[in-house]
Symmetry: C2
Subunit: 277 residues, 2 copies
């Protein structure tokens, strides 16, 4: 049996009782280091906190492992209980659909234990989840690669008065260009897009495309470390948020659509300069 | 301090360790009976299971209480720890934004403990969460009240190739018409919309509006008791799903947009007649 278990967003205590019971009865426990592990405060130190909680060692499944030797894990899961731990929800912002498909093809039974993910936890800012349109991803621009397919999606959402959740790029364990050339495995340090970076790219694209999907006056909500004890949520215009110090990753950004009065009241609590002043 | 704690979707074991710790240290614990409590398998029997787990009595906060005497709860939360338990995530399909706004206005500190909700758990069917458009609600039609504002939203989503999550109506503790007339408080029995009912209404509206937003051949995914041990997920056309016995509530429905190959592979596992046959 393969258990795919969501760890939630904050720390080791965000696992569910059901998730913890499953981990405890599994013979082998993998933890995905692939996408957002660092956001979970999991330094090597944090890993041992988890190992203490679970009472067993963790195998860090990094990107290479997931891409290259995931079948070994699935063969194990045919013989005994294997847990695969995922930050957030197993099918949250990053999906593990492919893993499930491979498991099912190998005849491995799969059980999913859900948890919170960014996609629902953003509700904390007061914007109603049923007033969001399509989610967009903002990738790191490079000198030569500046994809802006998010722009049209934001246009469409705003046309319909909908909010847009922007997921910001994460680069973990990317092979360095130098290492690719030399055929050795060396990695770039992990890189997380900040809200500031995202807004700069958004405004650059608006200037290029000029369809007035948004401007630097557009109201947004910036989230850092959503779901953690030290989460930061700030509402303001793009121009204002670009100057806010949100601190360490992960960051995400919501571009606000048309709001209802209850939404506005709630946003007020997070606004840099509340209307009530 | 007011803790608003998500219980997740399945049963008593879906609370997080953090949530359980908070409940244990609160002096008073309310549980919302307002929207989807019955979906949680919480007969009076289930309630005592929770009370055993928490080691303290629960106060059921029904609709009346939430609407009429919520301030009493908030005054308590100024003096000592109060937990307010919510099925799913506090800001999931149903929101508790208003409660937070009132709390903050009364100077009550609020702490939210997230959990899974329908909005992310639907990821289990393999359709990517970032390929969903606006969520729609399908209300029970009556003889005289047949609101169809969901139709245009589905149109827009399908035009952009996006999936649509349809949340199906729940009627709990509605005053009966007879009781309204007599000035006494009597309630209709709780009523949960089934997938069959939803599809019938959807097709009725399509026939009226005739803009070909979908047809009875449209691929959908039906979910019953999502996140529970006995959840049912079936993919098929509207025509097929209308004949599937999904069993007890809650139900929800996804109208599938344009799919990618990995999404299709995964949907296949849930399809009434898999393509591979």
């Amino acid at each position: 049996m393969l258990y795919i278990i969501g760890l939630g967003l904050g720390d080791d205590k965000d696992i569910t009782l059901k998730g913890l019971e499953a981990v405890k009865k599994c013979e082998r426990v993998y933890i995905e280091a692939y996408t957002s592990l660092l956001s979970f405060g999991l330094s090597s130190n944090g890993l041992s906190t988890l190992e203490d909680l679970y009472g067993k060692p963790l195998i860090v499944a990094d990107r290479e492992m997931v891409e290259e030797s995931v079948d070994d894990m699935l063969y194990e899961a045919r013989e005994f209980g294997v847990a695969f731990l995922v930050v957030g929800d197993p099918f949250g912002a990053t999906t593990h659909t492919d893993l499930v498909v491979r498991a099912k093809k190998l005849g491995v039974e799969v059980k999913v234990i859900h948890n919170a993910s960014v996609v629902n936890a953003i509700g904390v800012c007061g914007l109603q989840l049923y007033r969001y349109g399509e989610i967009v991803s903002i990738p790191f621009f490079t000198e030569t690669w500046r994809p802006d397919s998010f722009y049209e999606k934001i246009c469409t959402n705003r046309l319909h008065g909908l909010h847009t959740l922007c997921l910001l790029d994460i680069r973990v364990k990317e092979p360095s260009i130098e290492s690719l050339c030399r055929g050795k495995k060396c990695y770039e340090p992990p890189k997380f897009m900040t809200i500031q970076n995202a807004i700069e790219q958004l405004l650059e694209v608006e200037q290029m495309r000029g369809e007035s999907a948004y401007s630097e006056e557009a109201t947004c909500v910036g989230f850092a470390r959503l779901g953690s004890e030290d989460q930061v949520v700030v509402a303001g215009s793009m121009r204002e948020l670009v100057n806010v110090e949100f601190g360490s990753p992960l960051h995400c950004l919501v571009i606000v659509g048309k709001t209802h009065p209850v939404e506005e009241e709630m946003l007020d609590f997070y606004t840099i300069r509340p209307k009530s002043l």
